[in-house]
């Protein structure tokens, strides 16, 4: 099983610094994981991603099971070999995607009787629309907990029972997730949320049994996923049952969030889970700061503050989080900075020869690519998406790396204050962040003139609004 060592604890908040050692090396926590949904990160080679200081990425089981399919992943020698990635890899269970696709999926105790759908994209890398299109019906094809784990074993290439025989492959996956029953976080039906939570616990037992029986538990690390919606009582019941199984799992995830719920509700659930999860296991908050909802990707992109959301989660005791934000927003020309997201499409950047961020160590900024150049190619050339993706990944990793150093130095509260001040100074502090950090002993507003500080209720999204009207002709 994974080696998890806690190296430092913040004396004020619940943040901690740890080192997670998996089959493909060490990953320093807290960290964020870039998402390689289809086994690739937006135009970059694996070597390039590695050179950005990234040692843990996420693959989506649901997507990889549709394409290329487990058989091919197994033939390739596992997902690592398939995509040429030599560092750590986490595969999700595939449960989450069923939330978005639940119209097409009928969930049963056995698993999921599904009508498979796939994401059909327009042929352009830009202006791409996601259209759900029935691929083919596989009426009695159950996506059971066992099958999910089996697929993840194969994706990780622990082994795969194929028609060509049982193959033991060299590189095992690093972290796999239990199959959970996910309901949209805003589901009003408490009975359904309760059923899903209880089922997730039962499915955890089946996942553990299957995983242990497969003999893969020495190389692949199974994480449990806490469910229970936005209901504290259900979360507590789930936590209690799952923590009882603590010695059977390598870590815990907080699932069922980021479904469009209020941020004020979101952080309270995260805090509750982080507090009750065992100290000696890593805690993974799934899909931070980016709601997979009905909103268009661009609207989501511009209304998320993943960097600050992640820091709040860290302060609440979260060790790892995945987010598609840095890579997805890059496509729309949104660059992350310490002063908030930068919309490179705005005309004001057209003649600005400064980099996205001065002193940023990423290849885009350090090689002198200017905002003006990015403005010229953004949304027109994929190279713009690559350049901004590179910056955004490094930016996000720097924010988390800075947090690690600050926690070790015992200066994490100051780090939070400085970062939030830079990010929200002009736009105003989101109220939920102030409240969340207050709850772990950090007063973001301390020492600030109350008459000068703006507090923004709700999500407090900060965004450079882009309107065509403001563009000069």
């Amino acid at each position: 099983m994974a080696k998890f060592e806690i190296l430092a604890r913040c004396p004020t908040t619940r943040a901690r610094v740890s080192r997670l050692t998996l089959s493909h090396g060490e990953t320093a926590l807290p960290t964020f994981m870039p998402v390689a949904t289809q086994a690739a990160i937006k135009g970059l080679t694996s070597q390039q991603v590695e050179s950005l200081g990234i040692s843990l990425i996420l693959n989506n089981t649901y997507h990889l099971n549709l394409r290329p399919g487990v058989q091919i992943l197994a033939q390739a020698g596992g997902a690592h070999k398939f995509q040429g990635w030599n560092k750590n890899l986490l595969t999700d269970s595939g449960g989450f995607q069923f939330v978005s696709l639940s119209k097409f999926a009928k969930i049963t105790e056995e698993g999921k009787q599904t009508i498979l759908v796939f994401w059909r994209n327009c042929n352009s890398h830009f202006g791409r629309r996601l259209i759900l299109q029935p691929l083919h019906r596989r009426a009695n094809d159950a996506d059971s907990p066992e099958e999910s784990i089996s697929i993840q074993h194969a994706i990780g290439a622990g082994s795969f029972h194929s028609s060509t025989g049982f193959r033991d492959l060299e590189y095992p996956a690093d972290i796999i997730m239990q199959l959970d029953d996910v309901v949209p976080s805003l589901t009003p039906d408490r009975a359904r949320v309760e059923e899903a939570m209880e089922r997730s616990v039962r499915w955890l037992d089946r996942c553990i049994a299957f995983h242990n029986a497969s003999g893969k538990q020495t190389t692949q690390n199974l994480f449990a996923i806490v469910q229970g919606g936005l209901d504290h009582e259900l979360r507590d019941r789930c936590l209690k049952q799952m923590v009882e199984r603590s010695n059977q799992v390598a870590g815990f995830a907080v699932g069922g969030l980021s479904g469009g719920e209020e941020k004020d509700v979101f952080w309270r659930i995260v805090k509750q889970c982080a507090e009750k999860l065992p100290e000696e296991k890593p805690r993974y908050c799934m899909g931070v700061g980016f709601a997979e909802g009905n909103l268009s990707s661009l609207v989501q992109a511009v209304h998320s503050n993943t960097s600050t959301d992640l820091l709040v989660c860290v302060a609440l005791g979260v060790d790892m989080a995945d987010c598609v934000f840095p890579t997805r927003t890059a496509r729309f020309g949104v660059a992350l900075t310490r002063n908030g997201p930068l919309n490179l499409r705005l005309a004001k950047h057209a003649t600005d020869f400064s980099p996205i961020e001065k002193d940023c160590p990423c290849p885009t900024c350090s090689q002198g690519t200017s905002r003006a150049m990015l403005h010229h190619i953004v949304t027109r050339e994929t190279a713009a998406a690559h350049a901004v993706t590179i910056h955004n990944i490094v930016f996000q990793a720097q924010v988390m790396g800075g947090a690690r150093d600050a926690i070790i130095a015992g200066t994490f509260p100051q780090y939070l204050k400085a970062f939030f001040a830079g990010y929200f100074a002009d736009a105003g502090y989101p109220e939920w962040c102030v409240n969340a950090l207050q709850s772990v002993g950090v007063d973001l507003l301390e020492g600030l003139d109350p008459s000068e500080v703006k507090i923004i209720p709700g999500s407090g999204a900060k965004w450079e609004y882009s309107t065509n009207k403001s563009k000069t002709k």
Partner: protein, 443 residues
């Protein structure tokens, strides 16, 4: 005359060839650009990489910075006035703005995209048309000193006008330290092509001579000649009853009376076969790589070598990776050109020191040889519309083209049976574009 060296402080450019060349013999040589602090030498026949909006499509800057010779159409920068690169501070504004290295990357600037044959409003004596992201812009030819070839001037009158206008524009662009390449005008008319060439080498007198001093003729101020095949092909297709002269005849008509010591550049070449023929029959020195880059964009991995191996059956030039045949093909992209040194086929492990550190406790372990990208992997990326498919394929296809031309150079220098090897290549590989047209529809 659509090509101007993009440097504020122009510097000398020279071409030298291995042997004394006579008119149309195949030749190898080198293009030397001297700058005050550095020199760039490019062995010819060489590859000219195509850019779009100033970037090599699908490549990150780190990968694009390894390409020695690139062509930059300027028209999209005309969306802003003045064009943004001209505002960039520093001595190499275009290089700096686009992220290329002036020490080892040579840029050829054109006004129009030479591959773009969309109809634009007719040029006048003083204005040329350019296509920008915000519509057509008319450029005062005197001020911007850049000019792109005219679109097919089908009528006799238009041909005459285009020839005389082009010559007059050449005189306006020449300067003591400018490296100017001229587009050879005249379309499908052999007479018009010859007329344009004689305009270039004609000794000028009086005010005309003063305008181009110290040069005696327009040609004195030129480093080479450019042929844009895209508009020329359109014109050839439009000529009825198939009585248009063939490409070789047209190119030779332009070059016949010109000194053989100058650079010959081709845009919109359509296959390696055509490259070989143009080297063999016309002595061309530089070829654009649009064809190979387009193949990458459509999911085709090139797979050919020169000299061609002895195959049992004639081979395709590449593999359309959209085809389901590749779903379980874990071999690397090239079978004939192996090992291909591109970052897709032979990724190099990231050195520990090159990894960006994010905190004091970050520890990096670099281990093992990275796995080459397999055909199955890129097939998967193609089907899922991942940008990485095209990044990897552009890297690979450009490497195949570079290796192809490197091999051509070696054989030109060390072998006297180039002509036979060209024939062998034609027998070994299909010149047709089934793979690319099929990939285009699958894409």
């Amino acid at each position: 005359f659509n090509h101007v060296s993009p440097y504020k402080n122009m510097v000398g450019m020279s071409v030298k060839f291995q042997a004394q060349t006579t008119a149309f013999r195949p030749r190898s040589g080198s293009l030397l650009l001297n700058r005050p602090t550095s020199a760039i030498e490019i062995a010819t026949p060489a590859l000219l990489v195509t850019t779009s909006r100033g970037v090599v499509p699908h490549l990150t800057q780190a990968h694009a910075s390894t390409l020695p010779c690139l062509q930059v159409p300027f028209e999209t920068f005309l969306e802003h006035s003045p064009p943004v690169p001209t505002l960039h501070p520093g001595s190499h504004p275009l290089h700096s703005f686009l992220g290329f290295n002036p020490e080892n990357q040579l840029l050829i600037l054109t006004l129009r995209d030479p591959h773009d044959v969309r109809e634009t409003p007719a040029n006048t004596n003083n204005y040329v048309s350019a296509v920008t992201g915000r519509g057509i812009r008319r450029i005062l030819s005197l001020r911007c000193q850049i000019y792109h070839s005219l679109l097919p001037p089908f009528s006799q009158k238009r041909v005459e006008r285009s020839v005389s206008r082009s010559a007059s524009w050449v005189s306006q662009i020449l300067g003591p330290n400018r490296n100017v390449l001229v587009h050879m005008a005249g379309g499908v008319s052999i007479a018009a092509r010859k007329a344009f060439s004689s305009n270039l080498i004609e000794k000028l007198h009086g005010r005309e001579a003063e305008a181009i001093s110290p040069h005696k003729s327009l040609d004195d101020g030129l480093v080479g000649y450019v042929f844009d095949l895209a508009p020329l092909r359109m014109e050839m297709d439009a000529v009825s009853t198939g009585d248009a002269p063939d490409l070789t005849t047209l190119l030779r008509a332009s070059l016949d009376s010109m000194p053989s010591s100058k650079l010959r550049v081709i845009n919109s070449v359509s296959s390696p076969h055509e490259i070989l023929r143009l080297i063999r029959d016309v002595g061309v020195d530089i070829f654009d790589s649009k064809w190979a880059q387009d193949n990458a964009a459509f999911g085709v991995a090139l797979d050919f070598v020169f000299p061609a191996p002895a195959f049992q059956t004639r081979q395709n030039l590449g593999h359309n990776l959209y085809r389901t045949d590749f779903a379980q093909d874990f071999s690397s992209l090239s079978s004939s050109y192996s090992p291909c040194p591109c970052p897709a086929c032979r990724p190099v492990a990231t050195s520990q020191s090159a990894i960006i550190s994010h905190s004091t406790m970050d520890q990096f372990r670099t281990d093992g040889t990275p796995q080459p990208a397999s055909r199955a992997y890129i097939h998967h990326l193609c089907l899922t519309h991942e940008m990485s498919a095209h990044s990897l394929l552009v890297l690979h296809n450009l490497a195949v083209m570079q290796a192809f031309l490197a091999s051509v150079r070696t054989l030109l220098e060390h072998s006297d049976n180039f002509g036979r090897l060209v024939d062998d290549f034609h027998n070994a590989y299909h010149e047709g574009h089934e793979q690319i047209s099929e990939a285009r529809t699958m894409w």
